[in-house]
């Protein structure tokens, strides 16, 4: 398959919590802004949520949260069991065209039908690949992804410095770990965002390596918490990283 290198390289931010944040991150360079719908958490239905921070938003607020964006595209993040007609209707009413699924469970046919009827496509988040998952890239490429807009893949979340291992793997390990070429091969087969341990210090080096490639963009997840399955950044760091990235990419 011939790699598509003509697409714009996008900067995606997950778990934006307020309209003001969204506008500030858009101004810093974000192209895609996600709001994490957490009705089940906020309504005390889900008592063991993945995140314990305060970044979940009410689905009733989606339209208001997205209203201030002028250039960036808003999307809503949810779970396989949160996806349904009610959320799809609210997403469309908020002007959104995409929903991100944050877990790995199979989607119900009724949920997919709701997406179709509202003209919504899906980002698939909630997946992470470790250095030892040498067969996973092939598995992801071969998997079925209904209504796929893009896969948002967390890369090497259980490695101390994910970018260092991806960009400069020790020669003695290259036969045993996932390599950059695996991710590029995956990106050539399906639309792919990658999430790394981005910092203001490594951001330019990451962009130099990933542009132009088939990879569609970089993804940042906002949280003050650390996670074994997800790279996270604070809002302040995200704004700093986005500004550097946008400048590098000629967006500002």
């Amino acid at each position: 398959m011939i790699a598509d290198r003509t697409h714009p390289f996008l900067l995606k931010v997950n778990r934006v919590a307020t309209g003001e944040e969204a506008q500030a991150l858009e101004a810093a360079g974000a192209d895609l802004v996600g709001f994490h719908e957490g009705d089940d958490v906020l309504f005390d239905i889900e008592t063991d949520p993945f995140w314990t921070d305060e970044r979940y938003v009410y689905s009733a607020d989606l339209a208001e949260l997205a209203a201030g964006l002028t250039r960036a595209e808003a999307f809503v993040e949810t779970t396989s069991y949160g996806l349904g007609e009610a959320l799809c209707a609210k997403a469309r009413a908020a002007g959104m065209q995409r929903i991100q699924i944050g877990d790995h469970l199979a989607l119900k046919p009724s949920a997919l039908e709701a997406c179709r009827s509202h003209g919504l496509s899906l980002y698939y988040g909630g997946r992470y690949i470790t250095a030892e998952d040498v067969m996973m890239a092939g598995d992801l490429a071969a998997a079925e992804w209904p209504l796929l807009e893009a896969l948002d893949l967390q890369v090497f979340t259980s490695t101390a410095d994910a970018w260092a291992l991806l960009s400069s793997p020790p020669p003695e390990l290259t036969g045993d770990i996932v390599l950059m070429s695996d991710l590029l091969s995956l990106a050539a087969r399906l639309p792919l965002f990658v999430s790394l341990n981005l910092t203001p210090a490594n951001c330019e080096a990451v962009l130099q390596a990933l542009t132009p490639t088939p990879i569609r963009g970089l993804s940042l997840t906002l949280s003050p918490e650390s996670s074994g399955a997800c790279h996270t950044v604070t809002v302040e760091h995200a704004a700093e990283i986005l500004a550097i990235a946008a400048s590098y990419l000629g967006k500002t």
Binding site: D40, D44, I45, D48, F50, S158, A160
Partner: protein, 263 residues
């Protein structure tokens, strides 16, 4: 108790019919049929209230008969039930503006709390809320089978009882655990890209809420020692034997957690 339960069950059925049919729902053409719709405690209180009994006669004999929904409001007004909380397991849902059956009082308290905290953004009818609570409980129950990923002792079982990891034996044992818990696992594959003469064996768990896949390594690879790696939704768990020689080499890993067995 059996009689009370039967009466409560009938009342639930009536409320559900009323909810289904809307304001023009079930009507009653006799006092006894009306009273039979209520749980015993509520019915006794109604029967002791002469004013209310008189109103019931008016309802059941009049041309404009009332539904149970309307009657319950009158019963609350008569002071038999105080406010919307009083009708045992039948409550007034402010979101659907109707009486609903409450199976679990804790769900109802959570529902009321959520409405209060959400300040106008919680308009889910109670029956949907209760269904989502039930679905959540089922997911939690599923997630704990065959082990709870938050319980290190349970996770350590995946390593088995032998000093080294025998991928064939471990695969068979772990597969059995998941199948007995109602989950399928994929066929075991040997990593095709390993420099080790003892490559890892890999398999996935299908549609488990928290456990994604396993890697069974007999030792001798980049980490030197045998290990069982469990990928969960929260991160990677590595189960290692602290008596392994050579010892497990952590390289630059930062898994969600290491679990050490001593065999």
């Amino acid at each position: 108790m059996a009689t009370l339960n039967a009466q409560a069950s009938r009342a639930r059925g009536t409320v559900q019919r009323v909810l289904t049919k809307g304001p023009g729902g079930q009507e009653f053409d006799s006092r006894s049929r009306f009273l039979n719709e209520f749980p015993g405690g509520i019915r006794s209180a109604i029967e002791k209230n002469s004013g209310l009994m008189s109103r019931i006669d008016t309802w059941v004999n009049g041309e404009a008969r009332v539904t149970l929904d309307h009657a319950m409001k009158a019963i609350v007004e008569a002071g038999i039930a105080v406010g919307e909380e009083a009708l045992e397991d039948i409550k007034f849902d402010p979101n659907s503006r109707a009486w609903v059956v409450v199976e679990d009082p804790e769900d109802w308290l959570a529902f009321k709390g959520a409405i209060e905290r959400a300040r106008g953004r919680m308009n889910m009818p109670y029956p949907e809320y209760a269904e989502r609570q039930q679905n959540k409980r089922e997911r939690e129950e599923l997630a704990r089978r065959p082990v709870d990923i938050n319980n290190n002792s349970e996770l350590a079982v995946f390593y088995g009882s032998k000093r080294a990891v025998d991928p064939e034996e471990r695969y068979a044992a772990i597969k059995k655990m998941f199948e007995e818990a109602g989950f399928k696992v994929t066929a075991k594959r040997v990593s095709g890209r390993s420099s080790s003469s003892t490559p890892p064996h890999l398999f996935e768990v299908e549609d488990h809420p928290t456990i994604l896949s396993f890697e069974l390594h007999p030792g001798g690879g980049i980490h030197a020692a045998p290990y069982v790696r469990v990928k969960t939704t929260k991160g990677v768990v590595k189960i290692i034997n602290k008596n392994s020689m050579p010892p497990y080499d952590k390289l630059d890993e930062k898994p969600w957690k290491y679990i050490e067995v001593s065999i």
